[in-house]
């Protein structure tokens, strides 16, 4: 692979990590599928985590909750199963509008080996199709942050109806507006059958089969892709739709996979790309030459680094990722500039030492680290904001760049004398 020749060896670290667990994905998934409920089977810590992660961001009636394990549940497992059934009954009685119930495993439920797959099956049988119950793990001993979405989507794959029909399936949550935009652009190119996973309604599940081509909107859906491939779908290899370049390449790859005339694609994309680049121009001037350090968090780090370097002219000091999937990054890695230092995993203290030593102009990091770094004089950008904001697509490229320019602008705006 070309990458070994241009990129130095990946720095593999294991030490204290500073990243949310997969439960956090619930915070955006519950808004994506308003007819679904996410029930974490875990501890008070798990409940506190999702509320803290969600609480700083949104005020919303939650469509998630936690069945908190107590001492009694830990004593005997049969008991825990009965208890879980009772909690689910209460919940469904109160929330009759729920159509899909995700039972979400946590560290404690995994350590005590509570079999949520069995529980899901059992409840499904009892509910007789009134709700569908699926399960996945969002535990911190197995998953980080965005990987929770991967687990949730994987759990839906067995429920997808089979169909050999040719279709494009976009995998990974996009902001609603962005998704609509992509659908209309694909339609303009003549690609009519485009579906999404997750769907907007949890019951509106897309079919899957030999004719399904997968296009990844997010880089953190590796297990979902594998499960869909087992159902006959094929992945389209493409960079991720961040920035003008990535978004165009992403859409073009999909069009090519369906044999659409490249001229038609160009007709649709060229004016978009033109306009996108124009919008980016002032932001590029702002960001050019600025040095960027990305701490591992959302798995969006590599495509973001690619965009910020190639389209905004930023210099990459270090690009961290919690987990490096070379296959899903195959189109991204060669686009990184020669010499980019990648790191995988984390040893937060050592990483912060590298941040201090290299004095970057901007650090992308998790919420727990942002203010302390600001206090040390570094401009920061919360990585979690990037999974909540509409950042995908040509039309969004300037908005995405603006998210990174703002902390720098702000520092220049402020004066105290």
């Amino acid at each position: 692979m070309a990458l070994t020749s241009t990129l130095p060896p990946v720095l593999r670290e294991s030490g204290q990590r500073e990243v949310f667990c997969g439960l956090t994905s619930i915070v955006w998934l519950h808004r994506r599928m308003p007819d679904a409920f996410f029930l974490v089977v875990g501890s008070r810590t798990c409940a506190h985590l999702i509320q803290s992660a969600a609480g700083v961001m949104i005020f919303a009636e939650p469509r998630f909750g936690t069945a908190i394990l107590g001492e009694r549940d830990l004593a005997g497992l049969a008991d825990a199963n009965e208890e879980l059934d009772r909690v689910v009954n209460d919940l469904l009685a109160r929330r009759p509008e729920i159509r899909t119930l995700f039972l979400v495993g946590s560290c404690p439920s995994e350590v005590i080996k509570l079999d949520l797959a069995k529980a899901a099956e059992r409840i499904n049988t009892r509910m007789l199709g009134r709700v569908r119950v699926v399960n996945y793990s969002g535990s911190g001993i197995e998953t980080t942050f965005t990987q929770g979405e991967d687990g949730a989507l994987t759990s839906l794959v067995p429920l997808l109806p089979a169909s050999p029909e040719p279709q494009l399936l976009i995998v990974g949550t996009l902001a609603d507006g962005v998704e609509e935009r992509f659908l209309s652009l694909f339609a303009r190119m003549g690609l009519e059958t485009v579906r999404t996973l997750p769907p907007r309604q949890s019951t509106d599940l897309p079919p899957v089969g030999e004719g399904t081509r997968l296009l990844l909107a997010q880089p953190f859906v590796a297990d979902t892709v594998r499960a869909l491939e087992r159902r006959g779908a094929q992945r389209i290899s493409a960079p991720y739709p961040l920035g003008v370049e990535g978004s165009c390449a992403w859409m073009a790859a999909a069009a090519a996979a369906f044999g659409i005339d490249p001229r038609r694609v160009a007709e649709v994309l060229d004016p978009l790309a033109e306009r996108g680049r124009r919008a980016l121009e002032p932001l590029r001037r702002r960001l050019e030459g600025k040095r960027l350090f990305l701490l591992p968090d959302s798995q969006l780090e590599i495509p973001l680094a690619r965009f910020l370097h190639r389209e905004c002219g930023m210099e990459l000091v270090e690009v961290g990722t919690p987990y490096l999937d070379r296959q899903l990054m195959a189109e991204e890695l060669p686009l990184l500039p020669e010499g980019t230092q990648l790191s995988e995993g984390q040893d937060v203290e050592k990483q912060l030492e590298r941040v201090r030593a290299s004095r970057p102009d901007l650090v992308v990091c998790g919420m727990g680290l942002a203010n302390p770094l600001e206090a040390e004089g570094f401009a920061t950008k919360w990585s979690i904001e990037l999974v909540f904001s509409p950042i995908h697509g040509c039309d969004q490229a300037a908005d995405l760049a603006e998210l990174f320019a703002r902390p720098l602008n702000r520092r220049e705006l402020l004066q105290w004398n």
């Binding site: 008070r44 506190h48 700083v56 919303a60 350590v111 197995e142 980080t144 942002a370």
Partner: protein
């Protein structure tokens, strides 16, 4: 197993973190999976702290579980000690680590670290955050003071010994911590208040204390138990073991501050404070007596908070502002008894619960005009369209103001007057609104500044749908209602000012329900109004 949507308290190890992060020179090694590091953001985002809490997590993963997690624990401890060189080390585990039973505390004790180690056992499946904070503070002090313990039966120190020792009396302020409610400002206020009475502060703990300061705790003539949730067990232990008397009255509000001063002065053998002090030092008494406050009379207020603030709020609301308390409760089970007593005095049954939906239901039933609560009640009150002021943790970043805003002492009373009264309408204005409510200019768009005070505003990050809060309108009708509003009813309702419309709607529906009326007309609305007007 217990279903929780929002929770008032985090797990006990978060309480331990609050102690560690409140102090200087203490480090906490927490055996926990990576996701548990979320707790850092409570301090760096909600408290807006400029440094990370002094916590090293082992962040073990599933693949470590087969192998030797004990090695990982020891490595993390050694690295933390080498890197941070703490003056005291706390070692503990989160809920997941508790299950795998590595016993990090005993591992640490066997490592010969050369620093005092306190091994924390905080049962994650039966206890909660405040309990964890109290236990940690107690264990830490007990560990550090081990060598100073007087022999059993030794004579108790005389609280008036300061005289014979030729110095001013001195006291410890115990309980203020990070993520508590306005603790930093309370400490500043109390320092001033005590100084005015010639009393020195010996140690403030945990907030800002070092382990060496904790070693000086027994040198105080009295302990002030400012936040029983956090300092209760420590104060009792210091009283039992060192004979240090405790003042347990929490000086929030005029009456309580005066009582606190009387108790403390009596204990230390000082002149009792002047009766006029409150009137001279705080505006609350006069503001509350002024004619503009007449409209506060009998305003119905619903209170739910930690025990300390709930009890204080009930007293202030009923005695110092002339409100009618229509609900009082707490999530602090450890202090339930005290809250029950306070409720009984007001002819109420205290609501002891950690289920915010149960609290919301009680709130809806009580139909208050003002809610004093936590962040959760702010959500609920907003859904019900009732003004709300936050008086206790759990809190949001907006409850950590930049300005000086204590709750305790004379200035605290001023702050409380302002922040509770503002969400309500001001006096004369209420009459004017009544007079002009049919005026065509009187439309919903006319937002008063008071409306803003009750509406949660912070939405730092927009959701995928641009962050529109999905507020589910909640019908207050007991059965969720087969009620129908006729056009005339709706029209009349729409003429009612928006800020009372929610209440009128609920009252009318309750009235209709009670009478089995299925259709609400203009007349029903006025019948209901007559029925509820007192």
């Amino acid at each position: 197993m217990e279903l929780t949507l929002w929770t008032y308290e985090g797990p006990p190890h978060v309480g331990a973190m609050r102690i560690a992060a409140s102090m200087e020179g203490v480090h906490y090694v927490l055996h926990a999976p990576q996701g548990d590091t979320y707790a850092d953001l409570l301090f760096t985002m909600i408290e807006r702290r400029d440094r990370r809490p002094p916590v090293t997590y082992t962040t073990f993963q599933a693949r470590d579980l087969g192998g030797d997690t004990a090695e990982l624990v020891k490595r993390s401890i050694q690295q933390a000690v080498d890197r941070f060189q703490p003056e005291a080390l706390l070692v503990g585990e989160s809920c997941t680590a508790e299950l795998i039973q590595d016993q990090p505390g005993s591992l640490a004790c066997g490592m010969g670290l050369g620093v005092p180690v306190v091994s924390l056992e905080l049962p994650a499946y039966s206890k909660k955050e405040n309990w964890g904070a109290a236990e940690t503070l107690y264990q830490l002090c007990r560990g550090l003071l081990k060598t100073q313990m007087p022999a059993p039966g030794a004579a108790k120190p005389e609280p008036e010994r300061w005289r014979s020792e030729g110095r001013r009396p001195r006291v410890n302020l115990l309980g203020p911590s990070l993520l508590g409610f306005r603790c930093r400002d309370d400490v500043r206020e109390l320092r001033g208040l005590l100084a005015d009475h010639g009393i020195d502060v010996n140690v403030v703990a945990p907030l800002g204390a070092r382990p060496a300061d904790l070693m000086r705790l027994p040198q105080a003539d009295a302990n002030l138990c400012l936040y029983p949730e956090v300092a209760g067990p420590l104060c009792s232990w210091l009283e039992r073991s060192f004979g240090t008397p405790v003042v347990r009255t929490v000086p929030i509000g005029i009456g309580a501050t005066a009582q606190f001063l009387r108790e403390l002065c009596a204990l230390l053998g000082l002149e009792p404070p002047e009766l006029r002090e409150a009137d001279q030092r705080s505006r609350l008494p006069w503001y509350s007596k002024s004619v503009d406050s007449t409209y506060l009379t009998g305003k119905r207020v619903f209170i739910f908070a930690d025990a300390t603030h709930a009890i204080a709020a009930a007293r202030i609301a009923s005695r110092e502002l002339g409100f009618t308390v229509v609900g009082l409760g707490t999530y602090s089970r450890e202090q339930a008894r005290e809250v029950r007593v306070a409720a009984k005095e007001l002819d109420l049954e205290a609501l002891i619960s950690d289920d915010y939906l149960e609290v919301e239901q009680a709130m809806a039933q009580a139909a208050p005009e003002l809610v004093l609560g936590t962040q959760m009640e702010r959500h609920s009150a907003k859904r019900l369209g009732i003004p709300c002021a936050v008086i206790s943790a759990p809190l949001h970043v907006q409850d950590v103001p930049a300005r000086y805003a204590p709750q305790m002492g004379w200035e605290g009373a001023n702050v409380i007057f302002d922040s509770w009264v503002h969400p309500l309408m001001m006096g004369l204005e209420e009459h004017l609104i009544g007079m002009f409510r049919h005026d065509f200019e009187f439309v919903d768009g006319h937002l008063s500044h008071l409306e803003g005070a009750s509406a949660p505003t912070a939405q730092p990050v927009a959701g995928p749908d641009n962050g529109a809060p999905d507020v589910t309108p909640l019908s207050a009708t007991p059965e969720g209602g087969a009620l129908r509003w006729t056009a005339s009813g709706e029209a009349e309702l729409s003429r009612i000012p928006f800020f009372v419309r929610g209440k009128v709607r609920r009252n009318t529906e309750a009235y209709a329900n009670e009478r089995g009326v299925a259709e609400i007309t203009e007349e029903t609305l006025y019948e209901a109004k007559a029925h509820f007007s007192r």
